[in-house]
């Protein structure tokens, strides 16, 4: 764990408000491929936002445009209301953690961390020295100043990259899959440190990742991207519990998406005909689908109950299926189930599920209210 000395930092090094970022319909094309397609987004000052998506979704291209490495073909970027699309990277007051860390191999750790301060100018040697030492202290590398990057472990390099990125207290900090190269334990630990640094530095953090648990854990705002567009931008709870599209639901982790047709829609409850067979009830939330519309019913694996007898409660929906596989995770077990050809996933507590085994006939049940109806998204051409 990190000590707390930087809670009370000397004048001039304390938390400073980050910049408000606004992307106004920015686009970037590479040849015939549109990597980013009219993306608009408002990022509040000092917040932590994640750009989340599979590779090729445009998240890194978006980050590179914020950094100034790429110029948008259309649209404009604003830092605190100032248009920056044509401003050079070194004039944008940003810091960045690269996926490969991009530490200068010919410089010591100390010189790497001092680089932004020296390049920006305005500080004398003594002030730079003090800031670099504080920063190295903050990432627990005070004794590593004379080492070269090649003499450090992966986790240490990551922390040097972090120290270099924040040492000048930039108003915007960009992180490009900063934990991608590390093993899982280290990733979990460093997530905590990144959170702490965000709190103490106060910059606006823009974090690119394809790992949904990282995004959920770290962010104030999660932006799910797909094929160069924003699929949904919400706080972590909303994005997980109330995804707006099947893509978001699936990307946020192991969702059961049951294709269905709307049979009737009254005020609070929808009646759906599942394509796999069976008629179920679902809550009407968000924008209401029309009768006859094709939708997807989302049932989270952790909301599933496994039963042997049909439930008496009319609020509980059920599908009969057979167990394909049982995977044991200690606290929970994950079941793969086959419901007339559709593969479903359930995550249930390990305690009390000891009797389940492959080949068994069971009922896949969920409370009507825990499911969600997702409409297919249609983009304007």
């Amino acid at each position: 764990m990190m000590a707390q000395p930087h809670e009370a930092m000397p004048a001039g090094t304390g938390p400073r408000a980050g910049a408000t970022l606004r992307l106004d319909a920015i686009s970037k094309r590479f040849g015939s491929v549109t990597a980013v397609n009219r993306v608009s987004l408002e990022i509040p000052a000092g917040s932590f936002v994640s750009l989340l998506g599979p590779s090729g979704s445009g998240k890194t291209t978006t980050l590179n445009m914020i950094a100034g490495f790429l110029r948008p073909d259309e649209g404009e970027l604003y830092f605190d209301g100032r248009p920056v699309a044509n401003v050079a990277p070194n004039k944008r007051d940003i810091g960045m953690v690269f996926q490969s860390y991009a530490l200068f191999p010919h410089m010591t750790v100390y010189d790497n961390v001092a680089f932004p301060l020296r390049a920006r100018g305005g500080l004398d040697g003594a002030a730079i020295d003090r800031r670099v030492r504080e920063q190295l202290e903050m990432v627990r590398l005070a004794d590593f100043g004379e080492r070269f990057p090649k003499q450090l472990s992966g986790g240490q390099r990551q922390r040097v990259a972090m120290a270099r990125a924040v040492v000048a207290r930039p108003s915007v900090l960009l992180l490009d899959e900063p934990l991608g190269a590390l093993d899982k334990n280290l990733r979990d630990q460093l997530q905590g440190e990144i959170k702490k640094i965000h709190r103490s530095v106060g910059s606006t953090f823009v974090y690119v990742t394809h790992d949904q648990s990282e995004a959920l854990n770290l962010s104030d705002l999660v932006v799910v991207m797909r094929e160069g567009r924003i699929e949904q931008a919400s706080d972590p709870r909303t994005i997980y519990q109330a995804p707006e599209t099947p893509f978001v639901a699936e990307f946020m982790g192991g969702a059961n998406l049951l294709p269905a047709t709307v049979a009737s829609c009254s005020a609070a409850v929808l009646v759906l005909d599942l394509h796999m067979g069976g008629r179920v009830l679902a809550p009407a939330s968000g924008s209401k689908p029309a009768e006859g519309e094709e939708v997807s019913l989302l049932v989270r694996p952790e909301d599933v109950l496994i039963a042997e007898k049909p439930p008496a409660d009319p609020e509980v929906m059920s599908l009969s299926c057979s167990v394909l596989d049982v995977a044991y995770f200690g606290d929970t077990i994950r079941l793969s189930l086959d419901a007339s050809g559709t593969i479903l996933t359930a995550r249930v507590p390990a305690r009390g599920s000891a009797g389940l085994s492959a080949g068994q006939q069971v009922l896949f049940c969920w409370r009507q209210g825990s499911a969600r109806v997702l409409r297919r998204r249609r983009y304007k051409p």
Binding site: A67, H106, K150
Partner: protein, 305 residues
């Protein structure tokens, strides 16, 4: 059944053939490696080590006995002193000249994303395929009394009569620089390709302007490439013959020309051998001192530390 047992012992069975057979396998592998090296070994010994040794022996012989007379003559004659000095000066000019002209070209080639890159690379390589003599003669056409430049100057009424730009240090330097430029560019280019461009972006994003990110990041990381390319050009320049012979005057005589004169005109083979040994010794000395100072072998590993 005994025959099967025998096959086992010779190591043709699926079971562990035993330590003896394994050692045999290893011996056979060593033998195969030696066999592969053999041709190059023979060629090197017959065509390189042997003549060189003979020349070395020759250089220490006078009237059939061991003698340092040739070396004494070489080092005490003011002519050869000047020849060695000229050789060094011209090689140094060539090295610095190719570096100054070649670095920006290599930098552009290594960093551009333009589709012109391959075309430009070809333009760099094509002159490399041309013969030294052809390239040197083309400079004579350009720089001679009735050459293109001389006539252009006369037509422009900048001079009264024809000007000779040939047979001086300038013309030899120009010729040598032109000949060595592709080697300089290609060596630098290969080294620069190994530099991670993301490091330059990291410098830019952390507040360094275009010039500063070049000076603090790209340039230092390209130093091993510079060392390697400069050494290569310098050593090869030391042995130049055709270019100074065609484009230079008596004042630009380099050591290879002297060796030629001693051997084919004066027919003093022991002295020519001694001069050749001196050239070889100087080249080796340069490599050793240079390597101690800059560690040029690092150029082929990774940039930086």
């Amino acid at each position: 059944m005994t025959s099967v047992g025998e096959t086992d012992r010779t190591g043709f069975s699926d079971a562990d053939p035993g330590p003896k057979a394994r050692a045999g396998l290893q011996r056979r592998e060593h033998f195969a490696t030696a066999l592969l090296i053999l041709p190059v070994l023979v060629v090197t010994i017959v065509f390189f080590v042997l003549p060189l040794s003979m020349m070395m022996v020759e250089s220490f012989k006078k009237d059939g006995a061991f003698s340092l007379a040739q070396y004494h003559e070489f080092f005490t004659s003011p002519i050869y002193y000047w020849v060695i000095l000229t050789t060094f000066t011209l090689s140094l000019i060539t090295t610095v000249g190719t570096l100054i002209i070649g670095y920006p070209v290599a930098y552009y080639l290594a960093t551009t994303r333009s589709r012109l890159r391959n075309a430009l690379l070809l333009l760099v390589v094509i002159p490399y395929w041309l013969d030294y003599i052809v390239r040197s003669y083309s400079w004579m056409i350009l720089l001679g009394r009735n050459g293109i430049i001389s006539r252009a100057l006369q037509d422009a009424k900048l001079t009264d009569g024809p000007v000779t730009l040939l047979y001086n240090t300038f013309s030899v330097s120009v010729g040598m620089i032109q000949i060595m430029l592709p080697l300089m560019i290609l060596t630098l280019y290969a080294a620069m390709l190994r530099i991670d461009q993301e490091l330059v972006l990291a410098a830019r994003v952390h507040g360094a302007g275009v010039w500063r990110s070049f000076a603090k990041v790209f340039l230092p990381l390209s130093l091993p490439g510079i060392y390697a390319a400069a050494l290569l050009v310098f050593i090869i320049s030391l042995g130049f013959y055709v270019t100074p012979a065609l484009l230079g005057g008596p004042g630009q005589a380099m050591i290879s020309q002297s060796i030629d004169v001693i051997a084919s005109r004066l027919l003093d083979f022991p002295l020519a051998s001694a001069a050749a040994m001196v050239l070889l010794a100087i080249s080796l000395l340069v490599v050793i001192v240079y390597n101690r100072t800059f560690g040029w072998d690092r150029a082929w590993t990774s940039p930086g530390i």
